[in-house]
């Protein structure tokens, strides 16, 4: 397998984007002026993190990449002292993130890290449940702090109380400080994000590894089926919709709820309807925190939450009301799922021949089951709840910048790096204090316009899946489980690069996410807003799905995604509903068009396009 040299890739700047490097932190650049770093970069294996970043990264959104660059690496390398693995290094080319696991190479050093790892990781594994309970307290406190954080507008004149209370601080200072607090809360939240995750994934990866050694043909989805919890937070937002659908029927407001697709119209009607306010009160209870669920992965500013786009949960509630009215059950068949999970565990266990292997199976399964709720639930706390609130706080910051003419539109703020925003706020605040015009008013709008053009060119560019020199061994549990870096995936990536004409493709390969075979018509939904076009019995083709897509699953008979592994949302939900899923196909939304006839084999991970 041969991959391009990173410096050759960066040397081919897309015409019109010269100088794009200033949109990202300087340490993310592949360099030419430092021979030692240049050699390291050339000798290292980098792969495009398309799992998290299918699109080029906006300068502001780089915040979460930096946050996990720090957090994942520090927990591996400095806190738990994982013997053979340090952190994961990052670079950016044309807006696309490339990452590389950094190994500990000296065998002696690996040996000396072992006792530290055993002690430190041991404490977490042994006390998992009590530490996880503490984590929830910390995490919720952080989110409350975020929710309470005020982004002040700059008044023409400070209120008299500043004088009478002898406050001694201005709103200008508060704006600067609270912006810093906002950013720091975000970084802190990501510190917590990884507190359990490295170890959680390690437990999962090595249970999988053990199963694959015992049963070389075991599908990964069977292993995940053994550990997946039923009672995870990811299902809560959807469960709330079901609850609200039932309540609407019970209160007799269901004709009002289903009367219009526009939430503002429905809400106004409900206020006037008898028992409508009662239903609205129940809705408001569900909204906090459950409607903070993001319509995307939550990683990007454009991933809006249900709370931001109430039409989406409304359409979900309407779908469920329709099903209930037709006498259909909308409950997940949880008892059946648990019984099937237990049967699978018992049968695999029964196939193990050696006593010590059975003991090891019990130990590893127990450990994986312990860590699994965290591995799923942290997503709701961080990527959904925290992020949804965070993006809106940032929009409040953007509103101040817009008010002072530094940016023209609130959504322009994402084209600035977070340190540039800090500079712009200083510019605004000092100009406000002084009573002059901020310098940025003539500088940033022009720069933002140019950056928008650059982003568009980045979107049209196809990043190579991998660059640099492939290693012999990968030891980082994250790299194995999340990105699935194996011989096979590397070969597939190399092959994807060679596809020139998407209309010639008849077969797509992905991970077998949920078993079963069906045939049907495709419906490509690039965003959750397009879910309303879904017809009963279609096959959903999506870039990725998240809990906010839940209502879609009530209509479809199979699901295909571009990005995600067997632990991804689409795979887990399809297993719950007992329908096939093929996930992580790479480019199904580009190759497949709505209306095409597809054959989806969720047991082998194959999608056939019947042209």
């Amino acid at each position: 397998m041969k991959f391009p040299n990173p410096h050759d890739v960066t040397a081919q700047t897309i015409p019109g984007t010269e100088g794009w490097e200033r949109m990202y932190p300087y340490q993310y650049q592949f360099v030419t002026d430092d021979p030692v770093r240049n050699k390291y970069e050339g000798d290292t294996f980098w792969f495009n993190d398309a799992l998290h970043y299918p699109e080029p990264l906006y300068p502001f959104d780089t915040i979460w990449d930096e946050a996990w660059y720090l957090a994942l690496s520090q927990y591996n390398n400095r806190i738990f002292v994982v013997p053979p693995a340090r952190g994961v290094d990052h670079r950016i080319i044309n807006g696309y993130v490339y990452i590389s696991p950094v190994a500990v190479k000296d065998p002696e050093e690996i040996g000396s890290r072992v006792p530290h790892f055993m002690e430190r990781a041991g404490i977490y594994f042994k006390n998992w449940d009590s530490l996880e309970a503490k984590w929830k307290v910390k995490m919720e406190a952080t989110i409350r702090e975020l929710e309470a954080l005020k982004i002040p507008a700059l008044p023409d004149m400070e209120p008299l109380s500043v004088v009478t209370d002898a406050v001694g601080e201005s709103e200008g200072f508060h704006l600067l400080k609270n912006y810093d607090d906002l950013i720091n809360l975000g970084i802190k939240c990501w510190q917590y994000h990884f507190e359990f995750l490295n170890l959680g994934y390690a437990a999962y990866v090595f249970f999988l590894d053990f199963m694959q050694k015992l049963f070389p043909s075991v599908p990964i989805q069977r292993v995940t089926q053994m550990i997946s919890g039923i009672d995870v937070m990811m299902y809560r937002p959807d469960d709330e919709l079901k609850h609200l659908a039932k309540l609407a029927i019970q209160l007799g407001v269901d004709p009002v709820v289903t009367s219009n697709a526009d939430w503002s119209v429905v809400e106004a009607a409900l206020r006037k309807a008898s028992r409508g306010p009662e239903w609205l009160a129940a809705l408001n209870k569900s909204r906090q925190p459950w409607f903070n669920v993001s319509t995307g992965t939550g990683w990007f500013h454009h991933d809006r939450s249900w709370n931001d786009q109430m039409d989406i949960p409304l359409s979900g509630i309407a779908t469920y009301i329709g099903k209930l009215k037709q006498g259909q059950s909308i409950e997940r068949p949880t008892e059946k799922i648990i019984a099937e999970r237990d049967r699978i565990i018992a049968e695999y266990r029964g196939l193990i021949e050696k006593e010590e292997d059975r003991k090891q199976f019990d130990e590893l399964l127990g450990c994986a089951k312990t860590v699994f709720p965290y591995v799923e639930n942290h997503l709701f706390y961080v990527e959904h709840w925290f992020h949804s609130v965070f993006w809106n706080k940032m929009r409040e910051v953007a509103a101040v910048l817009k008010q002072h003419g530094v940016i023209e539109d609130i959504e322009d703020v994402w084209l600035l790096r977070r340190d540039e925003i800090k500079q712009a706020l200083w510019d605004v605040v000092t100009a406000w204090a002084t009573g002059v015009t901020p310098r940025g008013t003539k500088m940033w709008p022009k720069e933002i316009l140019w950056r928008k053009g650059v982003m568009q060119k980045f979107r049209e560019w196809s990043p190579p899946p991998a660059i640099g020199t492939a290693p012999e061994v990968i030891q980082d549990p994250f790299v194995i489980v999340l990105w699935g870096v194996t011989n096979k995936s590397l070969a597939d990536w190399a092959a994807v690069q060679e596809v020139k004409d998407p209309s010639s493709i008849e077969e797509l390969k992905g991970f077998a996410g949920s078993p079963g075979i069906v045939e049907g018509r495709a419906r490509v939904c690039k965003t959750v807003a397009e879910v309303s076009q879904l017809q009963e019995g279609e096959i959903l083709v999506a870039p990725t799905t998240s809990p906010s897509w839940a209502p879609a699953f009530a209509k479809i008979k199979a699901c295909i995604t571009d990005v995600g592994g067997v632990m991804s949302h689409a795979a887990i939900v399809c297993r719950e509903y007992g329908m096939p899923a093929v996930v992580g196909t790479g480019h199904s939304t580009k190759v497949i068009q709505s209306g095409m006839m597809l054959r989806v084999d969720g047991s082998t991970g194959l999608v056939n396009i019947m042209r």
């Binding site: 090595f206 053990f210 196939l351 090891q360 990968i474 030891q475 047991s603």
Partner: protein
């Protein structure tokens, strides 16, 4: 295990053992009487598995044949002076023994017993002179660790009592191939110790047939069932004359997790003109068609799982889909024996020495995952 109940064909000799025995009266501990294959068919029937009916000429019947005809003494004489390393002499002795056996008539008594059983079988199947498979069922064959597989013969689509008797003799004579004689000598079995039984089984008119392992023959994975299939009788698959279609089924969930459809150029089927089984070319347009439908794959794998559970060990199974019967009741098991390759292999445990989760995780991290 219940006491073995034998058929009512006790003869006038000083013995309680029958000359023939219906499959349903055999059990897995009937091997000394009916050989491995027939004992296992009896066991399968007992376990509720769908097996085509039939009967066995017992080892007692074999001994009667050898004694009554004087063949016993003749064999002893011919093999007395043989040096098993002298292959030419071995083959010469084998040839004369086999010719003598095949030319030897059955006693009237034995012939009557076999003819009556065959008549009853035809009656049971509702087919006059029902086509049968005649196969040897050796007492040492099919035993774990002493695989004689392929050392005895199978004759397909045999019709009429004379043909049945004739092929019974051929099966008996197959006990005396040069290779079998040498094998016994090398493994310390005396010729008197070894007896053979012959199974006579209703021929499944198979649309598709093949073999099934309840363990992955390539890597010993016990969580899968591997099925090889081709059109027609299973002989083309068993003998390796074609590359069959290949299916891997998850044993726990019965999902088909892998499939390879091969180009199958020949298959065995009955020539209706002269009523014999022969290899024919598969019509071109069918060569690359899947020879076993998905529903049958699942059904077959389910049967394989039941058989494995009954025996408590991985099994090697021959099966056929009968084209004369409706879907849902047309898959038959023709043969099941314990898998011997992986079962006798000593493998190291996968667990880490401490068997705690932490021990395994650490060991796994240190080993890493190879990327080439």
């Amino acid at each position: 295990m219940d006491a073995v109940v034998f058929g009512g064909w006790n003869d006038t000799r000083q013995t309680q053992l029958p000359l023939v025995c219906w499959f349903e009266d055999c059990r897995k501990d009937s091997i000394p009487l009916v050989g491995g294959k027939c004992a296992s068919l009896g066991e399968l029937i007992h376990a509720g598995v769908r097996v085509p009916p039939g009967f066995a000429l017992t080892t007692e019947g074999y001994r009667a044949f050898m004694a009554d005809s004087g063949m016993e003494r003749e064999v002893e004489l011919l093999l007395k002076e043989i040096d098993c390393r002298d292959l030419e002499a071995l083959e010469r002795a084998s040839a004369s023994i086999r010719a003598a056996i095949e030319a030897q008539p059955f006693s009237n008594e034995l012939e009557d017993v076999v003819a009556e059983s065959y008549r009853q079988l035809s009656l049971r199947c509702g087919v006059p002179a029902v086509p049968v498979a005649v196969r040897s069922s050796a007492t040492a064959e099919d035993l774990p660790g002493a695989s004689f597989a392929g050392q005895q013969d199978t004759y397909l689509w045999i019709r009429g009592v004379d043909e049945v008797l004739d092929h019974m003799r051929r099966c008996i004579s197959s006990l005396y191939t040069g290779r079998a004689i040498a094998y016994r000598a090398n493994h310390g079995f005396s010729n008197e110790q070894v007896a053979i039984s012959v199974g006579v089984q209703k021929m499944a008119n198979s649309f598709t047939a093949g073999v099934m392992f309840t363990i992955h023959p390539a890597n010993g994975d016990r969580s899968v069932i591997v099925i090889d299939s081709n059109f027609g009788f299973g002989e083309s698959v068993v003998s390796g004359e074609v590359t069959p279609d290949h299916f891997v089924v998850n044993k726990v969930t019965l999902d088909i997790i892998d499939r390879t459809i091969s180009k199958k150029e020949i298959c065995y089927t009955v020539d209706l003109q002269d009523q014999v089984s022969r290899a024919i070319e598969v019509p071109f347009e069918r060569q690359t068609i899947q020879s076993l439908i998905d529903d049958d794959i699942t059904q077959l794998a389910w049967m394989g799982k039941q058989i494995e559970q009954h025996y408590g060990r991985p099994m090697d199974i021959e099966w056929a889909v009968d084209k004369d019967l409706p879907t849902g009741g047309n898959i038959f098991i023709l043969q099941a024996r314990p898998e011997t390759v992986w079962s006798s292999k000593k493998t190291a445990p996968v667990s880490s020495p401490g068997t705690s989760a932490m021990d395994y995780i650490l060991a796994g991290m240190l080993a890493g995952r190879k990327v080439k």
